[in-house]
């Protein structure tokens, strides 16, 4: 039976750890990575909490052994760290001519962290000019490809907070269509003053720890992260007897077509995305053991997503949680890190808790998973929704 597309490697850097093992450890021990902003100056410092990776750009550059005059931005460096872990985990040689290897990355901020630092300084400081071209979103992917030594198909997706889910989805379709044999898929986003202030103007940032699916939720914590999966064709898996971590069995993307930023009241886009994913996976709602929800903890998202879950699953919504209380909302990377968490749930038969939850929402009876739970997990559904009504669902299944 066709199980979907094989996942043979994964890598992650987030506010709760710089490796898959570290992330699992934090998830198990309810250790969140939410703090004040330490890496850059911002007047919002006392008013917001974020999921920040406590490494400076210099430290990241050292970890990657980059030359001193490199032009990588924080987004690119976080991505390179996570992607090289994934490649090592899958034990693949991306330079090999035997297989067609690609990279589908995603980002929402691109090189904004550098641009906002030097925007006005560039004209008088020629030594910074090497960064000018690094602003464009696609350049972060090129830098990651160069760092890995990958020459071939490279592209970048940017659909706001569902970006990495869409990158994973495209990767699977590139393999299915026979255009690639294996593909590195995921997303990366660094924190920046630009995004922090942007979300602040929407008045959806919490001044304390975010509380997904709680009646008294005040908004989200932003975060930064990167995560990548290695997808490989069945043929490679068979030929090389590869160890499969899990399968990507379903995926779907739909548009809410309701409002540029807000989700519709009945979660139409989310509902459609989940339906499509079930169709591709040839699974039904009762097959799902755990849902890694989008759960940003904004009043609008959690209500809309909750309603969509009820529309799809009826009275029997499976155990669900949002892991954003651990990591913050990492925008384009979010679906990437949550894919890693979904696979960890399958590998370890674990459900991760929805931290900070206290009071059920008054609109419905949904209660998120509150404690770590050992339980057989065969299929996990992961949701990611973004600006522009972009709704994506991925379904992961046990290897």
């Amino acid at each position: 039976m066709q199980n979907g597309i094989a996942i043979t490697g994964m890598g992650i850097v987030s506010a709760i750890g710089l490796s898959v093992a570290d992330n699992l450890n934090s998830l198990r021990n309810a250790q969140k990575g939410i703090t004040q902003v330490d890496n850059f100056e911002t007047s919002l410092r006392d008013r917001v909490r974020v999921g920040e990776i406590k490494l400076s750009n210099e430290q990241l550059s050292e970890k990657l052994h980059l030359p001193i005059d490199n032009s990588m931005t924080r987004t690119g460096m976080l991505g390179a760290l996570a992607a090289q872990q994934a490649v090592a985990n899958a034990q693949i040689d991306v330079t090999s001519q035997n297989y067609r290897t690609g990279l589908v990355s995603s980002t929402s901020v691109g090189g904004m962290d550098i641009t906002e630092k030097y925007f006005y300084a560039y004209e008088n400081r020629p030594e910074l000019h090497r960064y000018i071209a690094s602003h464009d979103a696609g350049v972060s992917s090129q830098h990651i490809a160069d760092h890995l030594g990958l020459k071939g198909f490279v592209t970048t997706i940017s659909t706001a907070c569902s970006s990495a889910a869409n990158a994973i989805m495209l990767g699977a379709q590139l393999i299915k269509s026979g255009r690639l044999d294996r593909v590195i898929v995921g997303g990366t986003d660094a924190l920046s003053k630009f995004t922090l202030n942007g979300f602040n103007t929407l008045m959806i940032l919490s001044d304390t720890y975010c509380k997904p699916f709680d009646q008294n939720r005040k908004g989200l914590n932003l975060g930064e992260a990167a995560a990548y999966l290695i997808l490989e064709s069945d043929e490679i898996v068979r030929k090389e007897n590869k160890k499969v971590l899990a399968y990507l069995s379903g995926y779907g993307n739909a548009n809410d077509a309701f409002h540029q930023t807000a989700s519709s009241e009945n979660g139409e886009g989310a509902y459609l995305a989940m339906q499509k994913a079930f169709k591709i996976a040839r699974l039904s709602p009762q097959d799902i053991d755990y849902i890694n929800a989008h759960g940003t903890a904004t009043p609008n998202n959690d209500l809309s997503e909750g309603r969509a879950l009820i529309r799809v699953f009826g009275e029997r919504v499976p155990a669900f949680s949002s892991t954003k209380a651990y990591t913050g909302h990492t925008l384009a990377a979010a679906a990437g890190i949550e894919a890693v968490y979904s696979i960890l749930a399958l590998q370890n038969d674990l459900l991760f808790p929805n931290l900070n939850f206290e009071t059920p929402m008054e609109e419905f009876q949904l209660l998120p998973q509150m404690r770590l739970l050992h339980q057989s997990v065969n299929h996990v559904l992961s949701n990611s929704f973004g600006f522009g009504g972009n709704c994506s669902t991925l379904i992961f299944s046990k290897a």
């Binding site: 103007t201 929407l202 008045m203 409002h259 540029q260 930023t261 807000a262």
Partner: protein
């Protein structure tokens, strides 16, 4: 008060980029949202910044805007009562 209302209409047109609307087109009691001027949630956020920037009034919860931004009348009354500049 009348002066404040006229000023307010001009500023609303300006910050919300209402190109086809003139000050004279807005009645003091017209609904700003919904059927009236047809503003939406993004406009509400823009108006919150307008209160802060022009009149030194800070709203921390966007829900507060609902009653304040009902019409130019309600907005002007709230500003007159709470302005710090």
């Amino acid at each position: 008060m009348e002066e404040l209302k006229e000023e307010l209409k001009g500023k609303i047109i300006e910050v919300l980029n209402l190109e086809d609307v003139a000050v004279a087109d807005i009645d003091d009691s017209d609904a700003l949202f919904g059927d009236g001027l047809g503003l939406d949630s993004i406009d509400a956020l823009e108006l919150i910044v307008l209160l802060d920037k022009e009149y030194g009034i800070k709203l921390s919860d966007p829900k507060q805007g609902k009653s304040i931004f009902e019409s130019v009348n309600t907005m002007a009354e709230y500003i007159a009562k709470n302005r710090t500049k």
